[in-house]
Symmetry: C3
Subunit: 205 residues, 3 copies
């Protein structure tokens, strides 16, 4: 049951991440190829960095391409839609993206733990799994990664990943960790919570 | 015989890719070090990404540095030339670059196949081998990767890689796959063929 | 004794590199998360690229997170300071950075040698260990890597790495190699030595 739930959430998250990739391609006037590459990179990029750092060979989407194919199809399918309507500013996309962040975080911590990583490293691998794809997307789109100056995003991932890691009981901890990331991220979106930033120097000096 | 042909083509491709790296360094007013790094990254970057994703340790140019040295020398040699004459807009460079794309694609598919990658993954590894170096070059030169909005480039690589993969007879399939990429790319250059793009929204709506 | 010296220098170098990461985050108005990520990436990024290319799994800071934690703390600690005083242009930071370059170069060559890399590859791995973090930092901060157009930096690393590799006697060669990088880099800073560059075309034609 847990596995099916994870698969469904992973598929949803992959689609949401892919759509943000296509929107980045739209912002930079790329073509269909650029859009699909950014879709795939945003979706599977975080897990790819995690696997490379942990030394898991080959990376996960070569062992099992399911999510890779979902990202590919999502990129292809959203291209004509975004070409017609432009950037999607709908709230629901941010919500699915938050689900994706939460899910990928927990999966990432879990995988790092399974190969014996220490607690702080495992939590950071969760954050990399959740945020790494978006960072790669922004690097390929030649802009400063969104996550480096947005409302609480990576921090939600770190906090929820820590909750997940520290809770003894599985599979209950999956649910609690997932909800911790999700709720923190949703609150941050609605309240506009951000970390201290160099971008508001005048306010904070 | 096939191996010698591959080596000669690889060397030519490496030189062409290295020259595009030095030209990117020129466009960003880099120094000799930047130029040589971009030359090497453009030449060996695609195969490096492929090896990292597939878990081939160490990467190919550490096992056999021949192409690495060729890229290094090509970068060093073309620096004073490009410093004197500026950007090279000659057609022959695009032609050799197309040969490089074609050759690296086939080599990439072939290597991925040899470590047991599924068909779509192998074809994508061919594309990464052919295009990855140019993407890294553009990321390091702080610009949107050319391949994300150019005429048909990666698509030629994917199509030719698929032809190569699906043809049963070796070594004939090497020649056919190579020619498929090359001809598609040359046609795209001459006819200005491109994919649907976010960059021409007005024309296509 | 040598090991303690290396650890102390590594810690100092990690702090200096981390501070340059936080300054890059400052220049791009990032928040605390962006600053800490750039601090860590600048500090451990070079060794991470080296380990990935050489196929050392997992990368060094997962096996032993000491330097990772030092970078993390240095990033967190320097954030409020740089937020208050802005960019640090003090000479001493460039001096510690030069020590870091020198030390990481020698460590990198030494590790590459220990896994059997050929001489030119080992020397290049030393350069990647010393310079790779700064390149990643600048890519994540969406700017052309500093090292591609600065005074002599990577070249000092290559020259000192070669001296280290070629000297037969250990541990004396550690000291000589380290001093070779350091002195070259300090001279370059003070004299403004640079490589031939595309940036001064008018002067050199």
């Amino acid at each position: 049951m847990l596995e099916q739930v994870i698969l469904i959430f992973s598929a949803l998250a992959t689609v949401a991440f892919a759509v943000t990739g296509v929107m980045a391609a739209w912002a930079k006037s790329m073509d269909l190829f650029g859009a699909v590459i950014l879709a795939v990179v945003t979706s599977v990029g975080g897990g790819t960095i995690r696997d490379i750092l942990l030394g898991i060979d080959p990376v996960f989407w070569i062992s099992d391409p399911t999510l890779f194919y979902i990202a590919l199809v999502a990129g292809l399918a959203s291209f004509p839609i975004i070409r017609r309507i432009g950037e999607i500013r709908e709230r629901w996309l941010a919500y699915i993206d938050a689900c994706g962040l939460a899910l990928f975080t927990i999966v990432g911590v879990s995988i790092a733990e399974s190969v014996g990583a220490a607690a702080p490293i495992a939590i950071i691998m969760g954050m990399i799994t959740g945020c790494g794809g978006g960072i790669l997307r922004d690097v390929l789109a030649d802009r400063v990664p969104y996550v480096f100056s947005s409302e609480i995003y990576a921090t939600a991932s770190l906090a929820g990943g820590a909750v997940f890691y520290l809770m003894p009981l599985r599979p209950g901890s999956y649910v609690v960790g997932f909800l911790a990331v999700l709720i923190l991220r949703l609150l941050a979106i609605h309240k506009g919570w951000g970390l201290p930033s160099f971008g508001h120097r005048r306010d904070t000096r």
